[in-house]
């Protein structure tokens, strides 16, 4: 596995660097992303882990440039995709990109589908938008094919969303996201709203389809268990920043981790472990309306030092596994 990653090292599909995003509402300014760095390689499955409100969804919306109008704003940074900075592209370019080269699956399948349009038409809309040259017959064929791939009988494409269960709706959403065979799929907690058995099925299916279309997947989740099972690499997000990034083996080896990752790992129930209880991370998530000059995790960190509150930590890297923490900087010195 580690070798695969090395082989793909040059092929960085998405390169987000120093991305800053803020939401300006009537009441406050929320700093959602504060120097967000992330690399996604072609064909890989990357897990993006963090608490609710850490900025995972914001990152996905920024890539598609679909941040809420007038409220969400990118204040700094670059989003390189296939060499182009998406932040500098025209809206017309983005229209051709969304759904065609980058697809996104949203969290709640219940509300992701238009209740009054037949599901087949909603899937076909992607082809209408991106393959207008295709004949109606051909489009129908494609819709039928993708539907059977996600396990929905194509005969049901005339039906409406309310006639499907939650799991089936998510399959339809996935079909919609994959029909144009995109290079990158941003899946925002695609299984959170589903029950556990359905979760496994959906993830399994996504794995298969990913293989089929050679799509890179960014799986946004708060479940490290899912990441361990499904992903090649993992990035841990805290307060709008990726604090640790590396191969799943490297991160889960628990040799060297960001204190926040340690906390997350301690929250996974382990059947073999003899420990009687899970260890929660103390304190609450950093207030996104106030930025600290140092490390955002300092207040909750058991290893917190003086420097943590004053200066932002520098990157510590080893074999493509990097951590943003003063702890390791110190050790290196």
């Amino acid at each position: 596995m580690a070798q695969d990653i090395k082989l793909n090292l040059e092929e960085i599909l998405l390169d987000i660097s120093d991305l800053h995003v803020q939401y300006n509402t009537d009441d406050a300014t929320i700093f959602a992303l504060n120097g967000f760095n992330l690399q996604v390689r072609r064909g890989e499955k990357l897990g993006l882990v963090g608490e609710t409100g850490a900025g995972k969804t914001t990152m996905a919306l920024s890539v598609l440039r679909l941040l809420p109008d007038k409220i969400g704003k990118v204040t700094a940074g670059r989003i390189l995709y296939g060499g182009d900075d998406l932040l500098e592209q025209t809206e017309a370019y983005m229209l051709g990109l969304r759904g065609r080269r980058i697809s996104m699956i949203f969290q709640d399948p219940m509300t992701s589908l238009n209740p009054i349009v037949a599901v087949g038409d909603q899937i076909m809309e992607v082809l209408d938008l991106h393959a207008p040259y295709m004949s109606r017959y051909e489009k129908n064929e494609r819709v039928d094919r993708i539907l059977s791939m996600v396990g929905i009988p194509p005969a049901r494409k005339m039906e409406f969303p309310y006639q499907f269960s939650g799991g089936m709706k998510q399959r339809i959403v996935i079909a919609m996201a994959l029909i144009a065979e995109p290079e990158l799929l941003l899946a925002d907690e695609p299984t959170t709203a589903l029950d556990v058995t359905m979760q496994a099925q959906i993830l399994d299916m996504m794995s298969r389809l990913k293989q089929e279309f050679n799509t890179s997947v960014v799986l946004i989740t708060h479940d490290l268990g899912v990441v361990a099972e499904f992903c090649d690499r993992v990035a841990v997000v805290y307060a709008g920043k990726v604090v640790e990034q590396g191969a799943v083996e490297q991160v889960f080896a628990r040799v060297r981790n960001h204190p926040y990752t340690v906390g997350l790992l301690n929250c996974i129930p382990d059947l073999e472990s003899t420990a009687a209880r899970l260890i929660p991370i103390p304190g609450q998530m950093a207030d996104p309306t106030r930025l600290s000059p140092g490390c955002a995790f300092a207040d909750r960190c058991v290893h917190c030092m003086d420097i943590c509150r004053r200066k932002p930590p520098k990157m510590y890297e080893q074999d493509g596994h990097w951590i943003l923490c003063h702890l390791f900087k110190e050790r290196e010195d």
Binding site: L66, E91, R100, S103, P115, I116, A118, V173
Partner: protein
């Protein structure tokens, strides 16, 4: 086929409603002070005359018998005669109904034609000048008394400018002002309703999904938002149309249109109970039919509504 079945079922459901309304009204009216026979014959009628008429009208019988008789006669489409001029209630009502329906229909149509696009565009361009403008218009039309608006526009357009006829019925010119005034309130309701509904729909996840598929904002709005935003507005159309029939009372008085509104006002003032009673029944039926049509349209737009169930 199930549509016909559904419609018949809905219309049959009107029967208990109408029975209930008439029962309540009948009792309230029977409790009312004053003797109807006296009212018809005038103050200087003799006691014998009064007694004879009371007998003829069945007023000497218990109220429940009177009510039963009324309903039985109503089943044969006999709704009695006016106490004032002796005209048959049903015939009079039917002769005046077209005038009222025509104005109400034109009023509702223009209000829909302008109100819905205005509301939707306001929502799409929220906080724009257009948005503020249409909200001000809606608020004004909501707060202006229709009779005042009617009189002022009558003076301006009919008396001063002489562009339009002031009163009565006839060509389309007679329809312009009454329909505009009657529809004003509906227009306000349409603007507000479709704006609120559209703003709500624009926040929905499926709009974002459509954008993520590569639809432009405009495309996503046209294909996914407009249809969904119309669903609550269609229900409002039924309510508004019923409101227009009620509002006809004012416009028909201001513009002297011989419709059911003007007829009702006179009947209420004269306490002409058969006319009022009959009109209420007929209007309840009309409103019932309108609501049925609205529900059928809703079911057409929204696949989640299953009429067969």
């Amino acid at each position: 086929m199930y549509l016909v079945k559904y419609s018949i079922k809905r219309l049959l459901m009107l029967i208990p409603v109408i029975l209930g309304i008439t029962l309540v009204l009948y009792f309230v009216m029977s409790l009312a002070p004053g003797n109807p026979a006296q009212q018809i014959l005038g103050a200087n009628a003799s006691d014998e005359q009064l007694a004879a008429l009371e007998m003829e009208m069945g007023l000497d019988q218990p109220i429940i018998v009177q009510y039963a008789n009324y309903i039985l006669r109503a089943l044969r489409l006999d709704f009695g005669t006016s106490w004032i001029n002796g005209n048959d209630v049903l015939t009079t009502f039917m002769s005046k109904l077209p005038n009222t329906l025509l104005v109400a229909l034109v009023a509702t149509l223009w209000a829909i034609a302008f109100g819905i696009p205005m509301g939707i565009y306001s929502a799409v361009r929220q906080y724009s000048l257009f948005d503020y403008g249409s909200m001000v218009v809606a608020m004004l039309l909501f707060s202006l008394p229709a009779f005042w608006l009617g009189i002022l526009s009558q003076i301006l357009f009919c008396v001063v400018l002489r562009w339009l006829p002031a009163t009565g019925i006839g060509g389309w010119q007679h329809l312009v002002l009454p329909a505009l005034i009657l529809g004003a309130n509906t227009l306000a309701a349409m603007i507000r309703m479709s704006r609120t509904s559209m703003l709500d729909v624009l926040k929905q996840d499926y709009i974002r999904t459509a954008r993520a598929k590569g639809a432009s904002r405009r495309g996503a709005i046209l294909k996914h938002a407009v249809g969904n935003s119309l669903i609550p507005v269609i229900t409002q159309i039924g309510i508004s149309f019923a409101g227009c029939i009620g509002g006809a009372v004012v416009t028909e008085t201001v513009f002297t249109i011989p419709g059911i509104g003007a007829m009702l006002i006179n009947a209420v003032k004269a306490r002409d109970i058969p006319v009022v009673m009959g009109s209420v029944i007929f209007i309840a039926i009309i409103v019932g039919v309108i609501n049925l049509i609205v529900d059928l349209i809703c079911a057409k737009v929204d696949p989640r509504i299953d009429l067969a169930a």
